[in-house]
Symmetry: C3
Subunit: 319 residues, 3 copies
């Protein structure tokens, strides 16, 4: 079994991308595909909306992340589950009064929710919550830590386009040093054979050593380059990520290096490739690319709905 | 066809009061009346609450407007639709991260909502959103721009009381320079024959030239006056609006001019007239008038529920 | 009839613990027990979730209190009612624009809610709201005033453990001067015969004279002590409350006095006793006690769900 899978407690909580086996990923992706189909049909959509009637999820967001929250809530309601929601639990009076997240969970565990979906600004906070929770917890992002449903929807998007997750040339660019999505995608792709990863960034934002070590151990080939043209040649997937300019000494370096994607800069990209981005994007991908049939970042975001439905359905079906 | 109707895209989005024809208005008002009746009966209310089961709306409020949001959400739920909601998308992490409203819409379009109801502080922002949206957008107010459901509920309230929208003497007072509700009502009434509008305000807050021009072109008679007594004589409708005192050089001028409505100041108002206000009110209408049977401002607010139901039903019925 | 019951308008609003008779309390507690059972079974839970289909509640929270709001909303949804919600109506644009709570209620009354659940930072604000409301109002806490569902869930928790609310030795500690929960519990226990209350606190935080007077009038025996060991001996219930340290001159006094509950400090507490706390707790109860089978504070919080369901069911059943 892959080294990432030691912490396999999927039956209870969804905390980290590390906990999923290939078999489990396949099951989730198949279910997500199925839900997408059912939503497209009026009758099956209506039937689906009664599947988990009477059940409820709680979205507990300590920091706002409206997009993630809305898609989790839409996912729950598509399955017939009720939602109770807080969009800024940082203003949570109990937290403000000095309550630990463990106490908060101990209370919320009493309210009979079928799942508690948590977003937190502190790395590791959601794992702490899960450690004491008898109600299944889903990590909707914890600081610089994990955001497993994002990683799942990224992989799901690739599978949807190529019908496989192996034998792919994947170019990953942007903020590889700090962005959790780039790292999670690299991890996930290392589970599958014969992928080749190409990391493109400026010196300040290069992929970290822990990821390179992991790729080596899993036998996944990779390279780092500043030659975008060459990187895109024969690429299957271009996965670009957002620069948080406020964190950079010289944010213009990325653009100067030619790493912002434009119609011109992606000329060597094959017609069959796809362009992804976890969004929101700023300048890393020019708006002129949106109409390019290879641009899949909006569909990618939408795939989050089906992935979240698949996870919530799995959890709710246990009760 | 009336000059206001050039932009008739009601089939898709609800952005501006200008897009409605008389026939469409009649259809919406009739439906709103019908929903009001159905809600009043226990059995038909229950049945109605299943009409659009499985469908969902998203309320995307960039600035809080609790009353408008709650009534849209209550309207959606009365029709059986699920709601996902954000009450302060200004804190929206994506917007804060520099995302354009077009990108936000492109993402939300992927989540399968049947309608996206948007409130924004910037004039024109909702139209920008609608321009890229494949999901129907409903404008819940954009800055100093439009707030079409408010205009619809105002006209609906008059129709409910008089069974017509023509041949009325309508006195409009308050902040006519800045308030969008006074202007929208004037526009709407100009669609119907033989109305006479009387504008009452202090010099600083007089109705703007564009509205006067529009009334002229449509053949609607109007006058401006500072004689409240005379204005109210033979009036059918008194529509008063809120002064935003923080914007006024001398807010006490309005009161000194005798334009705050009190039992005493409305003595010349006929018994058959009605008093309206878009609310919230501050001092422009004294609380002592609330018990006057002519005071209809709270019912007016409530009529917003039926209007919003009629619009959401129309939109959801297209899917 | 007990002196507290003069204001018996339960048929309409739930404002104060004072309005409940013993018979009404019994009815609510029995119903709460029944709902707890129904939620534990998959089929009866599903059936329950359809009981008040088509009805709606509005949660109008002028200050955030996520826990209370979430449990009210979960309670409503468990009964099939829709929820529209605002978690910080202090940002409520209408309130910010100078609207009175009476006007807000007059508007919300038009939207057809079956109940309006209000949290407010000002003492008495919810009563003011109820005074003009034709829709039933439930007080979810108003400043230093009342929080009747907390008092009900406290009493319900004791009844659940002892099958009675009389003939109990109840030790109440913490901030007895300012905390509304300690006072409300004392009031409620004074309705039942042969209880003995023991108040434990530092000089700064002693129970107020009005409560002592009330206990005297009702014939309920009580004592004040600083001897925790003796207080806990033969106790049935220990009810501890949170210190708001920011309000205290010397917050460490409470700890120095030995009043923080620890494994060591509760040695004289009988095995059959229970330990309660309205939560959130800070240091007044050490985390090491959480595993003690007598610690019931998390279940106590959970009992709020059943109590709130019982109240909302009672209200919704009137329509």
């Amino acid at each position: 079994m892959h080294e990432l899978l030691q912490n396999n407690d999927l039956d209870m909580h969804v905390i980290s991308i590390d906990q999923f086996s290939q078999a489990q990923l396949k099951q989730i992706f198949d279910q997500a595909d199925e839900f997408q189909k059912q939503l497209a049909n009026k009758d099956s959509r209506l039937k689906l909306s009664q599947k988990h009637a009477g059940k409820q999820v709680c979205t507990l967001f300590y920091e706002p992340s409206t997009r993630t929250r809305l898609s989790f809530e839409a996912a729950a309601q598509n399955l017939g589950m009720g939602v109770v929601s807080t969009e800024s639990a940082g203003q949570f009076s109990s937290a403000a009064k000095g309550e630990t997240i463990e106490d908060t969970m101990n209370v919320l565990n009493q309210y009979g929710f079928d799942a508690i979906i948590i977003r937190h600004s502190e790395t590791g906070a959601v794992k702490k919550a899960a450690n004491v929770s008898k109600t299944p917890v889903v990590n909707a992002g914890d600081g610089k830590g994990e955001h497993p449903t994002q990683a799942l929807l990224d992989a799901f998007t690739i599978r949807k386009e190529f019908e496989r997750l192996d034998n792919l040339k994947v170019v990953i660019g942007g903020d590889l040093a700090n962005g959790r999505t780039a790292k999670s995608l690299a991890k996930l792709l290392s589970l599958y054979p014969n992928n080749h990863l190409v990391f493109v960034s400026i010196a300040e934002l290069r992929i970290t050593q822990d990821i390179k070590d992991l790729l080596k151990r899993s036998g996944t080939s990779y390279e780092e380059t500043s030659d975008l043209d060459k990187a895109l040649t024969n690429a299957d997937v271009v996965y670009w990520t957002r620069l948080q300019k406020e964190r950079l000494a010289n944010p213009e370096d990325f653009d100067s290096a030619g790493f912002n994607l434009t119609k011109k800069s992606i000329q060597s990209l094959p017609k069959t490739a796809i362009i992804m981005h976890p969004l929101p994007r700023v300048d890393e991908i020019a708006v002129e690319i949106d109409d390019d049939p290879r641009a899949k970042y909006f569909q990618q975001a939408g795939n989050g709905l089906y992935i979240r439905m698949a996870l919530l359905d799995k959890i709710a079906s246990q009760n």
